[in-house]
């Protein structure tokens, strides 16, 4: 019998620590599938963030580096400059990429580093217990915005992808989401594009993935997918930004 579906070689045979309904497992798998399909598993070097995906390197089956919180793009910049023949990507959450690491993000993008960035936006800090993220929506209740985020106190959800798309050295920015099977397939396509761009030396590519966090959104996994579709993607519109 012909085998038509299996675990990607780029994914280790272990179970993850993620909560039920979390989007990280899906995003990890999509990256692993793309890496396998592009035949680059032995060339890839991933850079894991600090946050829920801190031990992503325990799930992927290729070379990886950790990075201090927010510094993934500094670490990745150096790896890629030292080893231009390798395919280097970062995997970062909203706190990592758009709060503590804003400087590294903007400047790596502005230098046009030939890197692939997978940006997981779930509008919350998961690892530390559900605090406000830079991408938390107005009115969204978190551990540090008990009455909901207020613009006059905490500012607005930060649209860092739109900001990055303005930079001349940035080649590709697309926002996708994990709210349905169809959207997941579009997400995979975007990830593939971002890796292909690097392989063709096109420069800085970023895929922002709206990803569910049922635990800290305080709703069920199904409701979380609906919330992405009906609420979150209104604030963060799906589609290609550059």
């Amino acid at each position: 019998m012909k085998k038509i579906f299996s675990r990607p070689k780029s994914l280790r045979e272990v179970s993850t620590h993620y909560c039920p309904g979390c989007g990280h497992g899906i995003a990890h798998r999509l990256i692993a599938e793309v890496v396998d399909e592009l035949g680059i598993r032995e060339r890839v070097i991933g850079v894991a963030p600090v946050g829920c995906a801190v031990i992503a390197y325990d799930y992927w089956n290729f070379d990886c580096s950790e990075a201090a919180h927010g510094r993934a793009l500094a670490v990745a910049t150096a790896i890629k400059r030292v080893r231009p023949e390798n395919i280097v990507f970062t995997y970062q959450g909203d706190g990592d990429l758009a709060a503590i690491g804003t400087g590294e993000t903007i400047h790596a993008a502005n230098r046009g580093e030939n890197l692939t960035v997978i940006f997981i936006n779930n509008a919350i800090y998961g690892m530390t217990g559900g605090q406000m993220a830079p991408t938390t929506l107005l009115g969204q209740k978190t551990a540090t915005t008990l009455e909901g985020r207020q613009a006059n106190l905490q500012g607005y959800p930060l649209k860092i992808s739109e900001m990055l798309a303005l930079l001349p050295a940035v080649k590709y920015v697309e926002r996708v989401c994990l709210s349905s099977a169809q959207e997941i397939m579009k997400t995979k396509k975007a990830i593939r594009q971002a890796f292909l761009n690097q392989m063709q030396n096109k420069g800085f590519s970023l895929v922002e993935i709206l990803s569910p966090c049922p635990t800290y959104w305080g709703i069920s996994p199904t409701q979380s997918l609906n919330w992405i579709r009906d609420v979150m993607s209104k604030e963060f519109p799906i589609g290609r930004l550059k």
Binding site: R43, Y57, S65, E66, A68, R71, V75, V82, N86, H107
Partner: protein, 355 residues
């Protein structure tokens, strides 16, 4: 290997030394008084097809060094005191991931923004770890421009051998001063003698490598820390470095490092010609501290005294006191915030130590 003589500043000598020693990657951020170093690298690294990046911050620079070192090449950053404070988190990660790295601190006055005058007030920060966690960096303290150049070879070798960060601790005077030095012409490029099977190169034909300092499973971090401690014990036993002068019969032994040791040495030599029994210990390595020579003297002689002189209010002093174990008196002379103890002040301190 062909050599040539050049007139060069300390900052430039450190840069040239790094290049000669096979540094493949440099990232830095402007700060006085070490800017000549970054400028030199920006000119000479690309000429040799090596990587120079002016980073957007000290944080980015040190984390770039983490990445470059994880990718298997000799990597370096440089800065001055406030910038080195910013790098501490990254240095802790580098030590925790057991990556080799070269960090140059051309010290200026502190605390805070302080000033841009020379200082030695970052001794504690450099020798005690500096960032969070139980770790140590090698600390090498050149006193001469030639030595600054030479120590880059030793520093990169130590970093690779022990997979540990190395700090070159100089001061603004050393960085800015020009002296003639001999430089080597043909340096190793890829340092092929050092094998780095742990480096991130893509997992072609092997199991994946991971560069990390994170140990979540119960007991793992303690085991890792014990492994680090074992490494540090070996380093402490094997890697003590100092220069000693007139130690056989000196009644007063001055202890000073870096620029301060040069002023002290000229006092010692002058007083010797007048028949005074003065000596000098100049620590070249500050961590590990050259404890054994102090112990040896303290355990085997009486009626001798140490006089520690620093451009700080007494930081290396504590290491001398710990090494002497209370067996001999330890006096101190120090100025900070840009003040440098003068020959006159040193002679006065020696007189008072003798009385």
């Amino acid at each position: 290997m062909i050599s040539k003589k050049v007139l060069i500043t300390g900052n430039e000598a450190i840069a040239e030394g790094a290049i000669s020693a096979g540094c493949e990657f440099y990232a830095g951020y402007p700060i006085t008084p070490q800017n000549e170093l970054t400028a030199y690298m920006s000119k000479h690294m690309p000429q040799k097809k090596r990587i120079f990046i002016q980073a957007e911050s000290e944080l980015a620079a040190i984390n770039m060094v983490f990445g470059a070192s994880a990718a298997g090449v000799r990597a370096m950053t440089s800065s001055s005191s406030p910038g080195i404070s910013l790098k501490q988190e990254g240095i802790s990660y580098i030590a925790g991931a057991e990556l080799p790295a070269m960090i140059v601190n051309i010290m200026r006055g502190g605390p805070g923004l302080g000033n841009i005058m020379p200082s030695q007030a970052d001794y504690f920060q450099a020798t005690r770890g500096g960032g969070h966690g139980d770790y140590h960096c090698f600390v090498l303290a050149p006193a001469y421009v030639q030595e600054a150049y030479d120590l880059m070879f030793l520093g990169f070798d130590l970093a690779d051998k022990y997979r540990n960060p190395v700090i070159i601790l100089g001061d603004g005077i050393l960085g800015q001063m020009m002296e003639p030095i001999v430089v080597k012409q043909h340096a190793t490029r890829h340092t092929p003698h050092v094998k780095k099977p742990w480096a991130l190169t893509g997992c072609l034909g092997r199991e994946p490598n991971i560069a990390k300092s994170f140990y979540m499973r119960e007991g793992d971090l303690e085991r890792f820390n014990l492994k680090l401690q074992k490494k540090y014990q070996v380093i402490k036993a094997k890697e003590q470095r100092y220069e000693g002068l007139f130690l056989d019969d000196a009644r007063v032994i001055i202890v000073a490092y870096g620029t301060m040791s040069r002023i002290a040495k000229s006092v010692v030599i002058n007083l010797r010609t007048k028949g005074e029994r003065i000596g000098l210990i100049r620590p070249i390595g500050l961590w590990p501290f050259p404890r054994d020579i102090f112990r040896h003297i303290a355990r085997n002689s009486r009626r001798r005294k140490f006089l520690v002189i620093e451009m700080s209010y007494g930081q290396m002093l504590e290491d001398v006191q710990l090494s002497v174990e209370g067996k001999l008196p330890v006096e101190f002379l120090g100025r900070s915030g840009g003040g440098v103890p003068t020959e006159k002040e040193i002679i006065k301190a020696i007189k008072s130590a003798k009385s």
